[in-house]
Symmetry: C2
Subunit: 454 residues, 2 copies
């Protein structure tokens, strides 16, 4: 049992609350009390957490290997989404399970340092460079599970079905690594993955259809059915680029959203990622389905996707969640405030998503989108995730209890995260990851990935 | 004399260059050489600077007291530009010279920590709360000069003429603090300020017209004439909000840009700040005048201004410079990449402003916009400003010499700045400001400002 005394904590019922004692036993929160009412809070065992303590934050959309592209993806020649994709493919072609493990372990450690306690890995780098499966067809998935465990982050391994290179187009080049041939073979492989890891409380195996470009309707149905049968999260890229919408309309006469709805992909277990370019009917469809939005604002800016109708979706009842996708940035607060600020840029108005709404997106809604419905809240019975943000840095200085939520969401940065507990385990203390030099691990892993690709 | 050995340096002719020795004598760079050709680089005197060393970065647009609004300005009720302005005015009404000094000193220290070596303070908080001048009518300006000196940053004190509350409207409430009554009285006060500080190599006194809303045409002419007579920088807020354009057209039949052009405000010494909402003719006018653009991307997002035609302006030959304005963020790299990423969001295309273009905006163009034309370049004869960015953090790990410029501009953060030299003086070493705990200074200053305003 460990007791944490939080200077301020963000609680489900009372919002920002001063002087809260949180008791953790065997990875769960077993008590949340005000220090005044608490007993023995001056114990030597009590860990003091100055600043604002949040529940664990959930990064709903990660392509972990993209971390090696940061900076490099901004060099001349990558001047369209599709030009960028060529660079990403060159890297994707080079990674084997060992290189993926090293890159994922270091990048996941970077995520925990930033306050993320869960990550949803949208995983489609399945097979060998020529498309032939590894001896264990889930070798790459196992590498991701091991990396998450070693980095101290909880993982939703969103195994992604990727069958086509476009409407009616076969997989080509590096895309052959992504494909299982058909839906049933995808489902059989994922079933093995689920058998290997599904019983682990720190791993959820989820399902994804990469996009309407990459999965024909019968495949979409198989993916949706697998997710339903396993009560698993179901994710899908949706309308990230206008070209996808145009191709979908030309090939099927439907918008991507309508196509997903018809195939049974939309529903409460579903998170649609990006949803940048939607028609009015698409918004209604997503709201009716009670699906979640997985917004990735820094990546959507870096990839020139555009600003989607976030406020309209949230207004229609679609819960917001957030992810760092390509890891151009890994800062939860930057993603959160960009969600609001991008709406301001698009509309000329302020006040779409306030600090509480954005913390809800980062915390409970994000965790639920990854199958961790028992995380993301500082309450008795929940998973013991604690993320403490210092309020004494040059960025956060000046916050008071009244303004702390806004000061953190709109002013703090990943660098202000001082202490991270994941399922009761201390992973970050004093701003340092228990695994040591994460920058060094990243440098080694990225150099290794580039050499493999050279 | 001090010698710095830079692992990588961004040089005017060769771009990113490995192993550069920079010699500094009496605040100037007296030699730039490759270490191979250098003598005695293994001296005990040589200071090693691992990472990428940049020239000094110039923050062309600061309202320093807005730092106290970070977070607080995001609370409910501040949901339009004009609602935000009410909060800002409440704070502006409360500050006296001592409170302004304390807030400016701490905020300027935050800026130096982020790599800014010059700041352009767009200063209009001149007089006492009821509009009556202080015993010394430049008491507030002197406070800013002292704060900059104590924080170790170079200052362009852009004294701002502010005469009206709108087209044909008098100053009201807190705005009375801003006004000198008429143009000649503004010029007389600024002349005194120039006499007091203009001979100091670390202070430039510049001139500004707040906006076409706040300065009638005859006042615009007086401000422009003062700047021309003193060869001083001339700044102006331009078309930040559609409402300003509409009011200007209604009152004068001209766009703000056309009005400024007619009044003689545009020219090579001029920096137009924001320029968010421009007509096609306005772009041509600014390009013909060879004025600079002072873009403030995070503030323009936070205030719901919108995305301006940055790429079109730069394409037309208008040099880009950058500022942090309301200090919602003080990160030069965030401003720089937002300048590009916002264009991507607006156009759906990448590749408008590359890393070199953005470093040029932060460095030499920004410094020139503040009257420090001899800063912003790592070359013999220039002011000895050095800003070193570590390449071993979780943010920058993976950069190599080929990608370092892009890795820094598109991936680094203020927190990666390890060493800052301003005019030969070491102000930041090992990521710490020589004045000590800047977060603590900010907390104290902000609490003081809020108490005064309560």
């Amino acid at each position: 049992m460990t007791r944490y005394r939080c200077e301020l904590a963000w609680l489900p019922d009372t919002g920002i609350t001063p002087d809260v004692v949180i008791t953790v036993t065997d990875g769960r929160i077993t008590d949340v009390a005000s220090a005044g009412a608490g007993s023995a809070v001056d114990d030597a065992e009590v860990v003091s957490l100055p600043g604002l303590t949040l529940p664990g934050l959930a990064n709903v959309h990660s392509h972990v290997f993209h971390r090696a592209l940061r900076g490099a993806a901004e060099a001349p020649g990558a001047d369209s989404f599709w030009g960028w994709r060529e660079r990403m493919y060159a890297l994707a072609g080079a990674l084997d399970p060992d290189a993926l493990y090293a890159l994922a372990r270091a990048t996941y450690a970077e995520l925990v340092l930033a306050g993320w306690t869960s990550v949803g890995e949208f995983h489609y780098l399945h097979h060998g460079p020529d498309g032939r499966p590894y001896t264990d067809p889930n070798a790459m998935g196992h590498a991701l599970v091991a990396a998450a465990e070693d980095a101290g982050i909880r993982l939703c391994l969103i195994d992604t079905c990727y069958l086509a290179g476009g409407f009616g187009a076969p997989l080509e080049g590096v895309q052959r690594r992504f494909g299982d041939g058909d839906g049933p073979r995808w489902a059989a492989r994922v079933e093995d993955l689920h058998r290997a890891h599904g019983g682990d409380g720190r791993v959820v195996v989820g399902a994804a259809a990469h996009s309407v470009r990459a999965v024909p309707p019968d495949g979409l149905g198989i993916v949706a059915a697998w997710a339903a049968a396993h009560d698993a999260p179901l994710h899908v890229h949706l309308s990230e680029q206008p070209a996808e919408n145009a191709a979908c309309l030309a090939a099927t006469g439907r918008t991507p959203t309508a196509l997903l709805a018809a195939a049974g992909v939309l529903g409460p277990r579903t998170t649609v990622v990006h949803a940048t370019h939607l028609a009015a009917d698409d918004l209604d469809e997503l709201a009716r389905a009670r699906s979640r939005l997985g917004l990735c604002p820094t990546t959507e800016a870096a990839l020139a996707d555009g600003i989607g109708p976030t406020a309209a979706l949230v207004g229609a009842g679609v819960p917001l969640t957030l992810g760092t996708d390509s890891h151009a940035s890994t800062d939860p607060f930057e993603e959160a405030r960009r969600a609001e600020w991008d709406q301001r840029l698009a509309t000329g108005r302020r006040g779409h998503l306030d600090a509480d709404a954005l913390l809800t997106a980062l915390g409970p809604e994000g965790q639920a989108a990854l199958g961790f419905a028992d995380a993301g809240r500082l309450e008795t019975g929940a998973r013991a995730d604690l993320v403490t943000v210092g309020l004494d840095s040059v960025r956060t200085a000046g916050a008071d209890p009244v303004t702390a939520a806004a000061a953190v969401v709109f002013g703090a940065r990943a660098e202000d995260v001082t202490h991270v507990v994941v399922d009761g385990r201390v992973v970050v203390a004093g701003g340092h990851h228990t695994m040591g030099d994460v920058g060094g691990a990243l440098a080694t892993a990225i150099a290794g990935a580039r050499e493999a690709g050279a």
